[in-house]
């Protein structure tokens, strides 16, 4: 049941000083409740804290294994890769950042797309990986999302996008901004054919991704306590110079304000998606 999990080598949450004698990665301090939890227990629980239900961030591969029927995922567009159209450099070259992310994640870009079945239902699935440059959307990510939408149109099946992104990628400038329009316009085509799009928002989903396809799901699901918003909390705090209310921009806040359809626990996610896709595509 936990075959989808692969051990990550870095555990930034670990409290080193207090657990000197404990082998690497055996214990994890929960980001939310601060409890020290046996890491195997978290793995077994789909990377959800058994004490407080905090949903840890997971990689795109882990997410795919969690959602699709075993062995059904056929990745496409994995060989489209970023160029550096602006020759962008700040303290680091854009190209070096890409290389580091590739090495760290084993992915070619911040989104993984493919066709699969979900409880038997043929579906196109795109999943963001926050560990690849913060899941940011540049030309490649925009292109892969647009192509996933086009594939759903071509195959006449439903679409699921699991977002986890800091937003548009600054290193590609306005080209990244345009991906918001491109992906949204592609969804307009999908909509005309009455094909369902389930958007799943996970921690964190902000900026240009939220302000485009992610908020355009026919149904929008969110994982518990995920940070979801347009502007990041720090930017808001700096602009209005006041403290943000407790729970601001978390899934529960968005549900309260009518911005998402439903908060779904990771355990229930596959089943909920499958149910909705089935209901929407029976004709």
């Amino acid at each position: 049941m936990v075959s989808w999990f692969r051990r990550r080598s870095s555990r930034p949450e670990r409290s080193d000083r207090r657990k000197v004698s404990v082998p690497e990665g055996l214990w994890i301090k929960c980001n939310n409740c601060g409890e020290i939890v046996y890491s195997r227990e978290i793995e077994r629980n789909l990377k959800v804290c058994p004490k407080c239900d905090y949903h840890f961030r997971i990689t795109a591969r882990e997410r795919i294994d969690l959602l699709v029927d075993a062995g059904s995922f056929e990745e496409f567009d994995s060989s489209i890769e970023s160029l550096d159209p602006l020759q962008f450099r700040d303290s680091q070259k854009y190209f070096d950042r890409i290389r580091t992310s590739k090495k760290k994640t084993g992915l070619t870009e911040a989104v993984v797309s493919g066709s699969c079945t979900i409880e038997g239902k043929r579906t196109i699935l795109s999943v963001f990986d926050f560990f690849f440059m913060g899941g940011s959307m540049g030309s490649v990510v925009g292109e892969k999302v647009a192509r996933a939408i086009e594939r759903a149109i071509q195959d006449r099946c439903g679409l699921v996008i699991v977002s986890s992104s800091g937003g548009a990628r600054m290193q590609e400038g306005a080209l990244s901004l345009m991906q918001m329009a491109k992906t949204s316009a592609a969804l307009a085509k999908l909509r005309r054919l009455h094909l369902p799009f389930i958007s799943v928002l996970t921690d964190p989903t902000t900026g240009g991704v939220t302000a485009s396809f992610a908020m355009l799901g026919d149904v929008i699901l969110a994982e518990p306590k995920a940070l979801i918003g347009f502007a990041g909390p720090r930017v808001i705090e700096q602009t209005i110079r006041q403290e943000l209310p407790e729970g601001f921009q978390r899934s529960e806040f968005l549900l309260e304000h009518g911005m998402v359809d439903r908060i779904v626990n990771r355990k229930e996610l596959k089943n909920t998606i499958a149910f909705l896709l089935d209901a929407f595509t029976r004709q």
């Binding site: 700040d90 490649v140 600054m170 240009g208 302000a211 347009f230 502007a231 209005i240 601001f248």
Partner: protein, 320 residues
């Protein structure tokens, strides 16, 4: 009008002032002939203007795009529309005054004009929220775009915003959803849409009015995914590097044209649109007229397809 000039414009302004002083002297104290001096200085001014304005860096252009005397949407509407009836409100929450919209007549034909609006003085700036919209602003814009579609009126949008407003209430009312909604709905509109970025094309707040068949930029406007200050704060860890961020993100009109993001650059009077409002408006008017005429030949389906193809092809990457 308060005189305001940017640092790099200072020599130009000083020379202009000297010339006008001389002219003043000539008329006040009759008998003094300063024609030669004035002519000499005017020649010098001409040369200096070319030197200063023909090789502006990206940051200097950013400053011109944000120039406090730059013409804003209502100034352009005054100069472009024979008549304009402003319409208000999103019909669900409020009227966002950072976006003005309404029906006008342009070259004798009805036109829906929608644009960001900044303020000139403190009171106006607050009323217009510095051109930064809340969700209800984008929703008002969309409501009126659909109204235009209903009655087959083409749309002109004028973009000039630092970005969507980052605030608690904006988030509560769905800032991201409002922008996203405009993107998908604009993609589906069956009437011609022309966008002109007149000043700051600030990220999602700009794009929410800019999913058009033709996107033009004024010569000294900018278009960017995040403000140079915001980018600098994240990547350089300090807003002081805004200038470097503007350079790195390639925010100018010519950059955008090169990247295939816009279709055309609208030339500005030398020194910038703020030096000559009528000339700036006339250049916009000419370009908009030409594009509306071209788009007027397309069927509703072709217009949607044209817009789709325009945005579909944007992006630079390698691979199949």
């Amino acid at each position: 009008m308060v005189e305001y000039y940017l640092d790099f414009e200072k020599p130009v302004y000083e020379l202009e002032r000297r010339i006008s002083e001389l002219k003043h002297m000539e008329t006040e104290e009759s008998g003094v002939d300063l024609t030669d001096d004035i002519q000499r200085l005017e020649k010098k001014l001409e040369k200096m203007r070319h030197e200063v304005y023909s090789k502006l860096g990206r940051w200097q252009r950013t400053l011109i795009a944000r120039h406090p005397m730059r013409p804003y949407t209502l100034d352009f509407i005054d100069l472009l529309a024979d008549r304009f009836v402003e319409l208000h409100g999103d019909r669900s929450y409020a009227d966002d005054k950072s976006i003005v919209a309404g029906v006008g007549t342009f070259m004798g034909e009805p036109l829906m004009i929608i644009g960001h609006q900044k303020g000139r003085n403190t009171k106006e700036k607050l009323m217009r929220n510095f051109g930064m919209s809340h969700p209800e602003g984008y929703r008002k814009a969309l409501r009126l775009m659909k109204l235009a579609q209903q009655f087959h009126i083409p749309i002109l949008t004028l973009v000039d915003t630092p970005g969507a407003f980052p605030g608690i209430e904006a988030e509560e009312r769905g800032q991201a959803e409002a922008i996203a909604r405009n993107l998908i709905e604009m993609a589906d509109l069956t009437i011609p849409i022309v966008t002109v970025i007149t000043g700051e094309g600030g990220s999602g707040g700009a794009l929410a009015l800019a999913v058009a068949n033709r996107v033009l930029m004024m010569e000294n406007s900018i278009y960017s995914v995040i403000s140079p200050e915001g980018c600098a704060a994240i990547l350089w860890k300090s807003q002081d590097y805004a200038k470097d961020a503007a350079e790195a993100m390639k925010v100018t009109a010519s950059d955008s044209l090169e990247l295939g993001i816009i279709d055309e650059i609208v030339p500005e009077p030398l020194g910038g649109a703020h030096r000559d409002y009528p000339a700036a408006a006339a250049a916009i008017g000419q370009a908009v007229k030409r594009h509306l005429e071209e788009l007027g030949k397309l069927t509703p389906e072709e217009l949607v397809e044209d817009r789709w193809r325009r945005f579909r092809k944007i992006g630079v990457f390698q691979g199949p």
